[in-house]
Symmetry: C2
DNA sequence: TTTGTTTGCACAAACGTTAATCCTAAGTTT
DNA sequence: AAACTTAGGATTAACGTTTGTGCAAACAAA
């Protein structure tokens, strides 16, 4: 039911009803009696202000747009859930857009998002620099937060992971456990996320005085098929790695299956450190040692930035969760 | 940019601009020249009708609400993706609501959804009959489609799976492969989805003249923890099943890990049929034989029903995808 | 009684559209 | 030339809010 319908029903003006329901009856000197009458009738008839009228008047929609490359990817699903949960506290709703890792579709969606006059945007782009992305970001008046795959050169408030540090931590941990031959299952090396993480891995390896063998490094995309293919390439190497780091969430699924396929036991023959904690990681056998992103914290920060229209980017540190997929090996002295 | 701003810029009335951009210039006798002028300027300045004004005028928001129990669950994530993709074709957007399997939150969300005056609702409820759900559904004028966990007694257009048939198919397949001792990993047995599937399983078992051993049937919820616990119960039985059916998507993840933990090999020692095809099911080792829901088709049907305001419910049949997790066993004659 | 001060609410405008109606200048017919 | 048609738009109202202002009644003060 409308405010106007309710007002007619109560023989009051829409103004009065609106003022009561907006929560400031005393400010406008609405009597106790009237206030009570309105509130009770509103409850009874499920009356609430029409968001379109309200939005038109106030210039805001009460919605923020969330763009992800693939909601089917557990990382983005978790992100979406946390963002929705947080936004709900300020009575905002989430408009979901899924580009399917397709840059052309992403462009279209960005245009659509903008034309919908949302109150803010949380964008996890495919990872490619497009005109639409720049346009969306440059829209000075609207709060935009970039997440996950940041675009170098596109200047925008962002919430992200210190990917270099995360990669470094993963490799450093393996090295500390005695591993000297470290393989790496990458995603799309053209995206900054992947490159940064890999650079961190390389840095740790070099720092330890070891060298990087690119024949046990593979990957060309974030899909499961890509992951499986890369895993096979890594494992079919005559000189197998003693530890493998999967640089993205899908990677671990691919790798585990290929490992099982090849009859390689974890962590006895090969140790694994995976990026992105999955719901099942701790139930897996062996439980997976993980570089976990603080998804909840990042989501909350993104929402806070949107709400407060801050302009400062935040970088979070990943956390290494020790579980059972990494074995300690004796260091071979060469 | 607004239509009114654009109109002012072009020294035209808002009406004219609106009519050109709405795509019916000839119907209102707008000259070719003017039409062209408007179209070009609109492109140049990224001008588009404000959806709030438009919505207010037309009485629709161009958005439909999607309510799921858990977007992190791959089934609902896939559903969301397909629904969004389909809705996009008619320029509608998806407002996402995630109840987190919590009935109280679901109630609140339903109220919020209704007050947002959306053009339609696609609801995958937690599975419990609530007043709010009934209210949302009874809202005669708005198109509502129920999916997945239907509520018996709540009369509403729905798109669902023939769950009995699906359960029957799973069990029948195992029996056909010679299995006589069939275990079952259930979800929440109070929900109709789970009960129907289980009844299908029971029917197939009884039809084959075998009997159901409830000591290898377990499950009390849809979460991963529930799944792990139930899997342990089933596998710790002294007399292990020769085949296990997991009645929901999370189940297979739990079961596989527990199996690996117990050192049971699939399909040599135990065969598995899983509900809900997962992206990794075919890459798994062994690849998982699956009872797959036609998620894409179901999503498209839901969107079609919403669009056409049909009232007829549709029931889809699950498809059995034969892969490698079921072994043929010799039938023991008793 | 007149003037001033509250109290309690209604009225009007504006947000941006669109659909129905109306207006004006030009061209066409008689 | 007068009357009629047509082209090409502009005006107006309405969708449902909220906010600034207005205005009557009641009450107090002088």
């Amino acid at each position: 039911m409308n405010l106007s319908e309710l007002a007619a029903h109560l023989n009051l003006s829409v103004t009065t009803v609106s003022r009561v329901l907006a929560g400031s009856p005393e400010k406008y000197r609405i009597s106790e009696a009237t206030t009570k009458r309105v509130v009770e009738a509103a409850q009874k008839y499920h009356a609430a202000p029409n968001p379109l009228g309200l939005g038109l008047r106030k210039g805001q929609t009460g919605m923020i747009g969330l763009l992800v490359p693939d909601i089917t990817n557990p990382f983005f699903a978790q992100l979406a859930r946390e963002i929705e949960r947080e936004l709900r506290k300020s009575d905002k709703a989430v408009l979901l857009f899924d580009s399917g890792e397709d840059v052309k579709i992403e462009r279209k969606l960005l245009r659509d998002m903008i034309s919908r006059r949302l109150d803010g945007f949380i964008l996890a782009p495919v990872g490619v620099d497009t005109e639409e992305l720049r346009f969306a970001v440059k829209n000075e008046n609207l709060p935009v937060v970039l997440m996950d795959r940041l675009i170098s050169g596109v200047d925008c408030t962002s919430v992200s992971l210190d990917n270099f540090d995360a990669g470094y931590k993963a490799a450093h941990y393996l090295i500390q456990k005695g591993h000297q031959r470290i393989g790496c299952l990458r995603g799309d090396s053209r995206t900054a996320v992947d490159a940064d993480r890999y650079n961190g891995v390389v840095a740790a390896i070099c720092e330890a005085g070891l060298n990087v063998d690119e024949s046990i490094v593979a990957g060309k995309g974030y899909s499961l098929v890509d992951g499986v293919e890369a895993s096979r390439r890594i494992l079919s190497n005559v000189n197998k790695p003693s530890g493998v780091i999967t640089l993205n969430g899908q990677g671990i699924i691919a790798l585990m299956n290929v490992l099982h396929d090849y009859g390689v036991s974890v962590p006895e023959e090969i140790s694994i450190v995976a990026f992105d904690d999955q719901p099942w990681s701790k139930f897996s056998s062996p439980a997976i040692t993980t570089i976990a992103q603080p998804i909840g914290k990042m989501a909350r920060m993104a929402v806070e930035i949107i709400g407060s229209r801050e302009k400062e980017s935040k970088i979070f540190k990943a956390e290494l969760i020790e579980r059972a997929s990494v074995a300690e090996v004796d260091v071979e002295y060469t």
